[in-house]
Amino acid sequence: MADTLTGPAPAAVPETAHAARLDHVSKVFGRPGTQPPVLDGITLDVEPGEFVCLLGASGCGKSTLLNLVAGLDEPTAGTIDTPGGRPALMFQEHALFPWLTAGRNIELALRLRGLPREQRRPEAERLLSLVRLGGAYGKRVHELSGGMRQRVALARALAQDSQLLLMDEPFAALDAITRDVLHDELSRIWAETNLSVLFVTHNVREAVRLAQRVVLLSSRPGRIQREWRVDIPQPRRIEDAAVADLSVEITEELRGEIRRHGQH
């Protein structure tokens, strides 16, 4: 017994078959029966280290689903299991706290995670240089450009040291060039870490550019309509022919789904 007490602690993260498991998840806002469900019977596994894009038109409940996985809301039915602990979440708006500098924003995440004080500063510096903002520690949020803010937000999400990163259209508000650069950046960081990513977007090309698997949701109610495995090797570019071809195929399916809503 003494040995076990003084010996090294076992690895913190147990090996699991999935980073997130959604089992017949449904969500109804308001009293059940009075409103149509927003999400209906979503069953989805995200494997450890996998990059999955959730794709869908407006009103398909993509963001709702992400909120459920993040634990910010409760499903009406079904279960959600995230064995790696509370997932990190990135929003469309950077959601950085304007009263803190870029570095302090990251340190707050480290502090809330329970990292001892003396380790916070070096860890924040490391994360900032991971998103290539090594000189931005003391910068206020309003002094950063839109792309830089999202990179700091990414660094803050990584500071949570979660196995699963949820991203809710994080690049939707950026201009095309910046978004392109951030795609490269995200792919690079994903390649350098063990992260599983669940990425929500309405941009088909973005989904094909980033994901290993694209999951198309139907709208009202949100159901999984179809899945594509994206076997185009990384690094990809958004203008690659292969990306374009698959995007055309997925867009056709998405359009058909949207058209269906206008028919009755």
Partner: protein
């Protein structure tokens, strides 16, 4: 640390895997251009893999540095003479204009000297008080009372505001009363305060509190109401719940509204105190600015009355300029909320 190393090794291994996949699936030389139908080829090549190449990486960091530089505006410090010209000269000129108009009115004999003393006479009264040695004791009596009362109002108003903002029942019960109290001139409380508490310090403080507490509490409520829900969600996702959420997210986010409330709270305390000092007279209270003003009126000393009014004005402005305006500027500027903060 051990886990980070593993992650890196995994990343490298995956990178190598990607190189191989590219080699099999696409043209071996560049790997940049892909023929149509590359999807199928790649699919045949095996599982999608993570990867990066050093050349791409250098490209990316250069591109990123360029974007960052283009989108960041460098701001230098405003030179001293410019601050002088834009911040100090205008109010001074306004003061000079007032003095000149005042002097002209006196010289033109608009009214006799017992009703409109000359600036020189007021200056003489100031010099008299200085020589008599009671100028600072008069000012300090009021300022000390005002600041102590304000601190007490801060200690009461802050938790009150927090509770009103966060507890629905309390908000419904107390919220309208707080707003109503703000529009009730707190000088209206002086008769009641004097009867309840006697003509002494306690009555003065009660009047200050009734003036400042609603402002401070309402400022905090307004500040909390305007906190974007996104911050609270982001905070929750980072692991801030309950008190930690209040301390790390809610209160700092509400600070601009709170500081605006403090500023107004000070203005209200100072006004209420002056009114209370004017009305309540007792040797126990000592001579503050309000009492001094009333004494001068009783002596029909118009220069003294003017001096009293001017001192009350100057002290009110000075405290605001020394304490509250810099605080407010700092809070707003550090968040990029002022036009000058770009």
């Amino acid at each position: 640390m051990a886990s980070t190393e593993t992650e890196q090794t995994n990343g490298q291994a995956a990178g190598q895997a990607a190189e191989e996949t590219i080699g099999q699936a696409i043209q071996p030389s560049t790997g940049q251009t892909q023929p149509p139908g590359a999807v199928d080829d790649a699919a045949a090549g095996g599982l999608p893999a993570r990867g990066k190449r050093p050349a791409d990486d250098r490209d990316l960091s250069g591109l990123e540095a360029g974007l960052d530089a283009l989108e960041t505006v460098a701001v230098g410090r405003t030179p001293f003479w410019r601050v002088l010209l834009t911040k100090v000269v205008p109010p001074l000129s306004a003061a000079v204009v007032v003095l000149v108009v005042w002097q002209i009115a006196v010289s033109a004999g608009v009214s006799d000297q017992t009703k409109l003393p000359s600036p020189h006479a007021v200056w003489g009264e100031l010099a008299d008080r200085w020589r008599a040695g009671d100028l600072f004791s008069i000012i300090w009596t009021s300022v000390e009372r005002g600041l102590l009362g304000f601190l007490a109002a801060l200690a009461i108003g802050t938790p009150l505001g927090l509770v009103v903002a966060r507890v629905r029942f309390v908000r419904a019960a107390v919220g309208p009363i707080l707003t109503g109290l703000q529009s009730l001139p707190s000088v209206a409380w002086v008769p009641a305060a004097v009867i309840w508490l006697g003509i002494e310090g306690k009555a003065m403080y009660a009047v200050i509190l009734l003036g400042a507490v609603p402002s401070i509490a309402n400022g905090l409520v307004a500040g909390i109401d305007r906190v974007p829900p996104l911050y609270l969600r982001a905070g929750r996702n980072l692991g801030a719940t309950g008190l930690r959420s209040a301390w790390h997210v809610l209160l700092p986010a509400a600070l601009p509204g709170y500081v605006a409330g403090l500023k107004q709270g000070w203005a209200f305390s100072w006004r209420s105190l002056m009114a209370a000092e004017l009305i309540a007279s007792s040797p126990d209270l000592g001579v503050g600015l309000g009492r001094y003003l009333e004494n001068m009126r009783e002596a029909s000393d118009m220069a003294g009355v003017f001096l009293g009014i001017l001192l009350i004005l100057v002290v009110g402005i000075a405290i605001d300029q020394i304490v509250f305006s810099p605080l407010e500027r700092w809070v707003l500027r550090s968040r990029g909320l002022t036009a000058g903060a770009q």
